[in-house]
Structures are given as C-alpha cells and as structure tokens.
C-alpha cells in the first residue's frame, strides 16, 4: 500500500494555497507599486530619499533598531496609534516602496519611528545615539557610541562635532566627538522618515 502520492498531493496543495496568497499575490501587487506624481506640483509621493539615507538603512539593519522600533501606523479602527500621535494617517503599502528592507517591526520597546523625521533634528539624533540616557531621561536604549569617534581637536574644532554633550562619555577638554560615516548615514535615514505626504489611498483614514 503506497500512499506517497496522496501525501504529496495534500502537502503541496495546502502549502501552495498560502504561498499563492501570501507570497505570490503580494509580490505581484504590493511589490510593484510606484510613486504617485502630484499633478499640481509635480512632486513624487513618497519622495525620493538621498543616497546617504539609503546607506543608513544598512546601518539600521546591521544594528538591529527594528527589534525595539516599529515603523507602521495602524488605522484608527484597529488601534490608538493616530490618537497617540504616531502620525497623521495610517501607513499603507506605498509608503514602503523605497525601504530596503521594509522595517515594519513587531516590537515597541522603543517608540514607533514611522515619522521620527518630523520630530527631531539631526543634532538631537546624534546626541541621542551617542548617549541616549543623557538626552532622554530613563531611556533603556543602548548607546551607539561605537558609531562615533572621540578625537583630539587639531586646530579648529570639526564642523560636524557633537555639541552640548554631557554625562560620563562627554569629551574631555581639548577633545571632540565626531560621527563616523555610518552615524551620518543612519541619522540621514532617520531624518528621511516622514510619512506626511498625501497618498491617494490614505486620506479618509486620517480623518477618523
């Protein structure tokens, strides 16, 4: 009695249905979305991001920001995300077409970063990455000091040196802290996180 073919049939069929629905379908639809052009201004939504910000995605991935920070705003009927000020509207598939990879995230040990670019300046981001506890009291975010270099000031201080550093890791007199290329890229990426542009599929959500 050989039941192998029957087994194969069932195993493949059941699996194929989910594969078609959750892999093939999104690939053919969500994976092919294009930016929308605003007819009046000619601007693209979502807007293109700089090469530096794109490089920042790799730094974001390498250091696992995703494990504490999500990047998605749920619709009002499913959450209080909008009421809590995570963004003006829910996020939709088109918001992620420039993300490589799409850092949706499944944890909020730290705040959601969907619109973090709207909230903080580059200067704040650098100080925060260097020593989170000094900028945001009570934060348990790890410090990313290894993305910065402490060096002796040669002549004039560097233009991109971090200002107003406090705490045990602040530079001694005569020294300065400058961001590495990775830190600059990461901050450029964080600043690019602004999902405030209009999209055809989302406006009604924001009114709820």
């Amino acid at each position: 009695m050989n039941r192998l073919p029957l087994l194969f049939l069932g195993i493949f069929l059941t699996f194929a249905s989910a594969w078609a629905g959750l892999v093939a379908y999104p690939y053919l639809t969500l994976g092919r979305l294009l930016p929308v052009t605003n007819e009046e201004t000619g601007e693209l939504s979502p807007p293109p991001i700089s090469g530096l910000a794109e490089a920042g995605q790799t730094v974001y991935a390498a250091n696992g920001c995703l494990y504490c920070h999500s990047q998605q705003v749920r619709p009002a009927y499913l959450s209080t995300d909008i009421a809590k000020g995570l963004g003006p509207r829910r996020t939709v598939a088109r918001d992620y077409i420039r993300s490589r990879p799409a850092f949706l995230g499944t944890m909020r040990t730290g705040p959601d970063l969907t619109n973090v670019g709207l909230r903080y300046s580059a200067e704040w981001q650098h100080r925060h990455l260097y020593e989170p506890g000094e900028v945001s009291k009570g934060s348990i975010m790890p410090a990313f000091r290894y993305l910065y270099v402490m060096q002796k000031i040669q002549g004039a201080p560097s233009a991109d040196a971090l200002k107003d550093l406090t705490g045990p890791h602040a530079p001694k007199p005569g020294y300065e802290v400058v961001p590495t290329e990775d830190a600059k890229a990461l901050v450029a990426y964080l600043l690019s996180l602004k999902r405030d542009y209009p999209l055809p599929e989302s406006p009604e959500e924001s009114l709820e």
């Binding site: 009695m1 050989n2 073919p5 194969f8 049939l9 493949f12 194929a16 093939a24 053919l28």
Partner: protein, 62 residues
C-alpha cells in the same frame, strides 16, 4: 526581478502540476481507501502493546 518572477510563476505551475499528477496517480492506485487503522504499527512482538519502553535510570544492584 526576473529571477523572482520565474520563481513565482514556475513555483505555481510546479506546485499545481505535481499536485494534479499525484492526484491522478493516487486515484487510479486506490489510495483513498483504508485510511484508518495504523495506530498499532509502532508495536511489534518484541515491544508489544502494554509494555512501557522508558524509565529513569535505576541504581545498579550491588
């Protein structure tokens, strides 16, 4: 992109094709009969039903 496209389309054809062929074969071969009664195949005369086959190690008898 092209590789991914081939994977998607090829995968679908492959999956459903295998399923169809297998289904045809299985139906002809009478695979849909006698699905029950298999719970006793893990027992045999040496390890029959009613005989436990695991135990905490016991101290060796002196």
């Amino acid at each position: 992109m092209i590789v991914a496209g081939i994977l998607i389309l090829g995968g679908l054809i492959f999956l459903s094709g295998t399923a169809l062929i297998a289904f045809y074969w299985a139906a002809r071969d009478g695979q849909f009969r006698d699905l029950k009664k298999g719970s006793e195949v893990i027992f045999d005369e040496d390890e029959p039903i009613g005989r436990p086959t695991d135990h905490f190690p016991v101290k060796p008898q002196a």
